[in-house]
């Protein structure tokens, strides 16, 4: 088993708890108070780590059998959510289950990776064929459309690089991939009309945050102030004024990196990026080390998911990308996301353990 990968993921998860603690603390006279949010996050992380270890010690190939059912259940949940779900921030994303709620759009990422890899493995004799390529896209299309309809633009868009990375690494025809990507780019303007008002304003504000400094642009401006004011070494854990005095919105969820950048500075940010780089690098090593198409696909999907979410999330906090609204893996508060990444890591570890060579 890849111990380096295991250590990096555990370190990131623990850092996450510390920064959820900082982001949700109140600077009062009595010092920081442990909030419910931290306790919930810690429960999810530790439960997730336990699941991760279980999966790591089992045979990942067994998940091939569950994949279609898992994918179907998620699709049904997404349909159910579209019809009945409670709306938050203009989108229907959560299913309430008593004291916690789950976010099917997080699980859909894992389901798509598993079902796609399963398909590629089952039809590996017909790899590179047009039929194979069309079939692969047709398989993941329902998930993409349902999430786009939610609307959860961020998650929908992240499926694109994940699916293409899996297809690419498992050896599908590059011509087909390039053609569809170019077609997609050409038709982008048509999608503009499908976007909801808040999504359009987020994109406009990305181009110029000062368009609406107290509205949609406020978060980006405050986030840049937080990270920029952190400087090289940061203001110290629990001492970030932007976050502790609540100038920064969404600071324990999508913008938790702003808290890290403010309190730990450039140095802390680099340390965190290196930890993620270790996860990705070990992932790449595992991909190279296996001949199993299913294993290759799963690890590629998960590594891409890690990389894209980290890069896009951090880029949006420093104003280099629009605010798309998805979490920083294993750091942002949120049980569904944490479980998905820890289960994903469990699968990576399992592949590393059962390498063929």
């Amino acid at each position: 088993m890849d111990k380096t990968l295991l250590a990096a993921v555990i370190t990131i998860s623990l850092l996450g708890i510390f920064f959820v603690f900082s982001a949700s603390s109140q600077r009062g006279t009595d010092g920081p108070v442990i909030s419910q949010i931290v306790i919930k996050q810690a429960i999810w992380i530790f439960a997730g780590l336990a699941v991760m270890v279980l999966i790591a010690n089992s045979d990942y190939r067994r998940s091939m059998d569950f994949a279609p059912i898992f994918y179907l259940v998620i699709l049904v949940l997404l349909v159910f959510l579209l019809m009945l779900g409670g709306e938050r921030f203009g989108a229907k994303r959560w299913i309430g289950l008593g004291f916690f709620s789950i976010q099917p759009s997080e699980f859909v990422k894992l389901a798509v990776i598993l079902v796609l890899s399963g398909l590629l493995r089952a039809r590996k004799e017909r790899a590179r064929s047009l039929g194979n390529f069309v079939l692969a896209l047709a398989l993941v299309a329902p998930a993409f459309l349902l999430i786009f309809k939610q609307p959860d633009l961020g998650t929908a868009m992240i499926l694109v690089p994940v699916v293409y990375a899996v297809l690419f690494v498992s050896g599908e025809n590059i011509k087909y991939m390039m053609t569809t990507i170019i077609l997609g780019l050409i038709s982008t303007p048509l999608f503009w009309n499908l976007l909801k008002g808040y999504q359009k304003s987020r994109l406009m504000v990305f181009l110029n945050p000062n368009l609406d400094p107290l509205g949609a642009g406020y978060t980006i401006i405050q986030s840049k102030i937080a990270i920029g004011s952190g400087g090289f070494l940061g203001k110290g854990w629990l001492h970030g004024t932007q976050s502790q005095l609540k100038f920064l919105p969404e600071r324990h969820t999508d913008f938790i990196f702003s808290v890290i950048g403010e309190e730990w500075g450039f140095a802390g940010a680099i340390v965190l990026l290196l930890l993620y780089a270790i996860v990705v690098a070990r992932g790449v090593r595992i991909i190279s080390g296996t001949d199993d198409i299913f294993g290759k696909g799963v690890v590629t999907g998960i590594v891409t998911l890690f990389a894209v979410q980290v890069v896009v999330n951090i880029s949006m906090t420093i104003g280099l990308m629009p605010v798309v609204g998805f979490p920083l893996p294993l750091i942002s508060y949120g049980g569904s996301s944490a479980i998905v990444f820890l289960v994903g890591t469990g699968l990576m570890l399992s592949v590393s353990r059962q390498r063929v060579r």
Binding site: R27, T29, A165, F168, V169, G171, Q222, K224, I225, A226, I227, G228, S229, G230, G231, F232, T241, Q242, L245, K246, F247, G261, G265, F266, A269, I270, L273, A277, V280, V284, I287, S288, T300, V303, A307, V310, V311, I314, S315, I318, L320
Partner: protein, 572 residues
């Protein structure tokens, strides 16, 4: 190998993110650090109370006093409409005003903002009773400037106004800020830098809604310094009561050292108008008034001094030996210069006059001849010695130096040579000559103190520090000339035929000179300049009565009353 391409793309993405972080955390750090400090730090200013202005017995002419304002903290209010209605009803102020001011507090978050000013102790009590029903409401203790000196002292006290942007630019290094009041005239302006204190404040850390989280620093405001003047409030008020309703000025000073005891102007204004928000409407009429209440006539108004100037002409002629006390001229009611006849105010003439009689009767013909005998340059030389045409240097702004005409001046101004007729007009204080009432008080003081030119002043103490008085100047004029003119001034008031009889007092001896100067209008200016007691003068008084008629009438009478009041107050 596809995996290599995959790795390269991921590596580029990592470089992209690190470059972005480097850009704002290292390169842009300083700018973002400042923005972050700006977010969290607020300075809540505490205005320093302005120093008071007091009379010589410590009675206030202007001072900051505690007042109570109804104030709100906007973000803590529950029902704005209800509160506005209740405040309006309880404090008896228009509802619209209260609503408007509450509305204006919207952006102020958690800062205390006054919405009804100066509600008095009764109003404060009423608000206290409302506090429990209205979160966000409070009684705010502040200071406001009061003017017990009122209209009477308006000329000397002056008024305050909001600092403008040009002044702010100039005064910023001295601690002036945007909402500062600054002295616009009078002592308020002259001693502004002493009167204003140093504002204090506290620096606090606030959260995203502007709530105070903790205090980081506190700077105690330093109150401004008090100014103690030489003014006697009772005499000041009395002088104003005499001239109120007329136009003019009264100056009363100690002829021994130049300490001003009273200095009033009329019409005047209430300085409170300029700082009371409720009386804003009264400002423009004051500034536009044709009678010019904002002009301090005693120092900024310049007028022909008329016959009061004869004391200067007489002295000049005697000092230069042009006349002696025994020199006599005959007055037939006019002087014929060939081309023009110059009349005496008494048409049928005064007959034979010497200098003493001429001062008593204010005979014009005698002084025409004296002036012509002396020559214009001699008159100018002595007028200069008496400080005519030059600021007195009193510690007030906007002093007008007046006009001491010379032949060169006339040539430049009118492109004409100096005629004998100009000298004749000069001799009785007419023509181009212009002087302020305070300058004439200096002139008359020379005869009160027997030969010294005083430099008038108003300030005795700044804070606890006693101010060194300006020294008086020895005039180096002969005793006999002074004595002769003093005799004339004595007779003017005390001889039954003298023009200044209305200033007479039976309990002590007043001496003085009347003046009636012709103007371009039908009415003349009346003047009286005198001193008392005659032998040991403790007070010199000048009354200027603008378009008020002959100086022997109101002016002399008013001066007499001032001396009487001064005696009553123990100043003589």
């Amino acid at each position: 190998m596809r995996i290599k391409v995959f790795v390269r793309i991921l590596f580029l993405a990592l470089v992209f993110v690190i470059a972005g972080l480097f850009n704002i955390q290292i390169i842009g750090h300083e700018a973002f650090r400042k923005m972050s400090e700006g977010n969290r730090l607020r300075v809540i200013p505490f205005k320093a109370p302005r120093g008071g202005i007091f009379d010589n017995k410590g009675r206030p002419l202007a001072q900051d006093v505690i007042c109570f304002n109804a104030a709100i903290v906007y973000n803590q209010m529950s029902d704005r409409k209800l509160l506005a209605e209740k405040l309006s009803r309880v404090l008896e102020v228009p509802l619209e005003t209260v609503e408007e001011r509450i509305k204006n507090c919207r952006g102020k978050g958690y800062l205390t903002q006054p919405v009804v000013d100066d509600v008095g102790i009764k109003g404060a009590t009423l608000i206290e009773e409302m506090l429990s029903d209205h979160p966000g409401l409070m009684v705010d203790v502040a200071t406001k400037r009061e003017y017990p000196g009122g209209e009477a002292s308006s000329g000397v006290i002056g008024f305050l106004g909001l600092i403008n942007s040009a002044e702010l630019g100039r005064m910023k290094p001295y601690g002036y800020t945007i909402d500062d009041l600054i002295g616009r005239s009078g002592l308020e302006k002259q001693y502004d830098t002493y009167l204003r204190g140093e504002d204090g404040g506290k620096q606090v850390e606030v959260d995203h809604r502007g709530r105070e989280i903790r205090m980081l620093g506190f700077l105690e405001p330093v109150p401004g310094k008090n100014i103690t003047t030489t003014i006697d409030l009772d005499l000041e008020n009395y002088c104003y009561s005499l001239i109120k309703g007329r136009k003019g000025a009264i100056v009363a000073l100690d002829p021994r050292d130049g300490a001003v005891k009273a200095i009033v102007t009329s019409p005047a204004f209430d300085p409170a108008v300029f700082i009371d928000k409720k009386r804003k409407k009264e400002v423009t009429p004051l500034l536009k008034n044709d009678d010019r209440p904002m002009v301090m006539r005693a120092i900024s108004g310049i007028y022909p001094p008329g016959s009061v100037f004869k004391v200067v002409v007489a002295l000049a002629a005697m000092e230069r030996g042009k006349i002696k006390p025994s020199t006599e001229f005959t007055c037939n009611g006019f002087l014929d210069l060939g081309s023009i006849k110059f009349g005496c105010w008494k048409k049928d003439g005064h007959g034979v006059q010497n200098v003493i009689l001429a001062l008593e009767n204010s005979c014009d013909v005698f002084f025409y001849r004296t002036g012509l005998a002396s020559g214009v340059n001699n008159i100018i030389e002595y007028a200069e010695k008496f400080g005519i045409g030059r600021s007195t240097g009193i510690d007030l702004p906007a002093e007008n130096p007046g006009l001491l005409p010379t032949p060169e001046w006339k040539k430049k101004r009118f492109k004409q040579k100096w005629f004998d007729g100009d000298t004749v007009n000069y001799s009785i204080g007419q023509g181009y000559l212009l002087a302020s009432p305070l300058q004439m008080a200096k002139v008359i003081s020379v005869f009160a103190n027997k030969g010294y030119l005083v430099n008038p002043y108003l300030t005795a103490k700044i804070g606890d520090v006693t101010i060194e008085n300006p020294q008086r100047d020895h005039m180096n004029i002969s005793e006999y000339a002074i004595d002769t003119i003093r005799k004339g001034l004595y007779d003017c008031v005390n001889d039954p035929g003298g023009t200044g009889g209305k200033a007479y007092n039976k309990d002590f001896v007043v001496a003085g000179k009347t003046g009636t100067s012709q103007t371009s209008k039908a009415e003349n200016h009346g003047w009286f300049a005198g001193f008392a007691p005659y032998d040991d003068a403790k007070l010199a008084v000048v009354v200027f009565d603008e378009y008020g008629g002959a100086g022997g009438q109101f002016a002399a009478q008013a001066a007499g009353k001032v001396f009487m009041k001064a005696k009553e107050l123990g100043l003589l």
